[in-house]
């Protein structure tokens, strides 16, 4: 097949524009984090501590020991999966806050299968992962269907489902799934055959609880990026997100697309739950996810819902989290500053303060030319 010169030029322009968009997204994420760090710097200075010392601990700490690197990789895996899980509905302009419930549903389902169903090798890992994705997707489908078919507020629906699933999780963990001979509330350990291999078994350096889930996360991100940019469904999701009326008149079945975005997001959050269960803890524990689900939203926003950028944002953001803990141990500045930095990031992104500034600068530059 031979393309005409015009077609070739057209494609070149298209690829270049896509590359430029990726570069802009990446640099925006970086600039936002830097701006937020600057705010944190001023706050630390204002309360009379030494921001340089604190930031040195935070920014160099995570790389100083291999176990800290492991902690970073493990945290970034969960966080990025959660970021990806909301980025997809966000792309269809659906504000899903349901990652928490979907994560616990995924962990719960995977635990039941891994602990109670004897499976041959390989399948012992794959089946719980799959079951977690299905369970997460099922929990995601509920607000999706309610929103798509009945126009019910998805924010409230997802928040309610979080509360319901978390309580159900607590109930099962305290009763049916509780390890009887243990003093604390936790489930039995998943069998060794179901665990995601720890990376330190491969590399021979202590890497804490970092595990094969990292690879799974990277593959998921790549798959979602391909889905969004290269498939019909991805195109429909983007259309519904940018202009639902136009999408409808263009013949796209908007309700179905909205449902799909919720289900895909739920499945990815379910995988995050499976990662915590099979890779990190090896069993169910109360409050396993901490506040990570909401932090996933920050990561998705920071990356402007581009799956590949979500990975970068997840690693960057997780680096700050891990560094914040080290800063707290080594200096008199607490981890709270990281939460403040995080809040500034969210506000900067949603108020679009930086892009507007950038746009104005670019416009001025073009004028000068």
């Amino acid at each position: 097949m031979t393309d005409t010169m015009v077609e070739l030029a057209d494609r070149r322009d298209f690829v270049a524009s896509r590359r430029r968009a990726l570069a802009v997204d990446l640099s925006m994420a970086l600039a936002t984090i830097l701006a937020a760090l600057a705010v944190g710097f001023i706050v630390i200075l204002a309360v009379g501590h030494d921001p340089l010392e604190a930031y040195r601990a935070m920014l160099t700490g995570p790389l100083q020991r291999s176990t800290r690197v492991g902690r970073w990789l493990e945290d970034a895996t969960t966080l990025t999966l959660l970021g990806l899980s909301v980025a997809i509905p966000f792309r269809a302009r659906q504000i899903s806050l349901g990652a928490e419930g979907q994560l616990y549903a995924g962990a719960l389902a995977a635990a039941v299968v891994a602990i109670f169903v004897p499976l041959p090798p390989v399948l012992a890992v794959l089946v719980p992962l799959l079951v977690a994705a299905v369970a997460g997707g099922a929990v995601g489908a509920i607000p999706g269907v309610l929103k798509a078919r009945l126009a019910a507020n998805e924010i409230v629906a997802t928040l309610m489902l979080n509360a319901i699933v978390v309580r159900l999780y607590d109930y099962l963990l305290n009763n049916q799934l509780k390890q009887p001979d243990s003093g604390s509330v936790r489930s039995a350990n998943v069998p060794a055959g179901s665990a995601l291999t720890r990376l330190q078994d491969w590399f021979g350096v202590p890497l804490g609880r970092a595990n094969l889930g990292l690879l799974l996360m990277l593959l998921t991100a790549l798959a979602l990026w391909l889905l969004i940019t290269r498939t019909t469904l991805g195109y429909r999701i983007r259309m519904v997100g940018s202009n639902p009326d136009f999408a409808r008149y263009g013949g796209i079945k908007v309700p179905r697309v909205i449902e799909s975005s919720f289900i895909i997001g739920g499945a990815v959050a379910g995988l995050a739950g499976a990662h915590l269960l099979l890779g990190v803890y090896g069993r169910l524990e109360p409050g396993m996810a901490g506040g990570l689900a909401f932090e996933g939203i920050v990561v998705a926003l920071l990356a402007r819902n581009n799956p590949l950028v979500v990975v970068a944002a997840g690693f960057l953001y997780s680096y700050l989290r891990v560094g914040g803990d080290i800063m707290e141990q080594q200096t008199d500045v607490g981890t709270e500053i990281v939460v403040i930095i995080q809040a500034v990031i969210v506000l900067l992104v949603t108020a679009r303060l930086l892009p507007d500034l950038l746009k104005r600068r670019l416009a001025r530059k073009q004028m000068a030319r």
């Binding site: 009945l150 924010i155 509360a163 909401f294 939203i297 607490g334 500053i337 108020a351 679009r352």
Partner: protein, 314 residues
Amino acid sequence: MNAAVEVILSTAFLAAVLRVATPYVLAALGGLIAERAGVSNIALEGSMLAAACAGALVSGYSGSTWLGALCGIAAGTLIALLLAVARLNLGADAIIAGIGLNLLASGATAFAVFALLDDKGGTTGLPSGTLPTIHIPLIEDIPVAGDILSGQNLVTYLALLSAPAVAWLLLRTKFGFHLRAVGEMPEAARSVGIRVRRIQFLALALSGALAGLAGIFLSMGYVSFFVRDMTAGRGFIALAAIFLGGLRPWGVFFAALGFGAAEALAVQLGNLDIPPQLVSAIPYAATLVALALNAWRRRSRSDPAASTTQQIAQ
């Protein structure tokens, strides 16, 4: 089962319901005002947290309970005003900005407490005041109702009064009429000369003040200290109550009472053989069902033109 019924009918339990429901009622009514003005206030949680912290800190350092309470309410209002600026002046998404402000409140309160008191947990080391409980002279002497209605905290009475007050404000005053018009169709409201942005600013400020009142109840009502992340998701429960109550003042009030009752019940049933987690999940499930039913009713009632074009397009 008899034991459960006994618990529910005891005066101590009913008094506890009012106590537990107080922050829900106040925050939910506050959120309702904002919601009816067309801006979802997800930052209720942050308003409550900021208020709880500012109340305990100011009261502790100044020695004045009332000054603390006032500053608490002001802090709650401030968070809502930040949301107003982000949404109305900078064009931010209200939900995302609300999430950001909740984070900001969580981080800033913990940071402030740690910076001032060198304590990670809260302000337990700082003696601060509590708001008074009130014994109502005549009602106090009524056999059963007296034990429930009298001897509650001042803020609980304010919560009970705020329901008729908000109902009156929204449904009977010119301001409320304008506010609802703004919420339902801002363009139409603007075209008849209503100052949309000003009304939304006021609505958010009011909603922050009510959430602030809910917040100081947590740190200055029955305890006299602030604990890190003390609100523990109460702002989100309030949000649920708004929708369970069908966006109507009295509906929201009773929905918030219902959430309080479920929580109080879950605590009480811990002693019996009924799983508290499942009891406390009931109101959330109810909200989800109510949300779906309301939406379904709205859809089947909505104009047929819109749905047919949709069907044709499909």
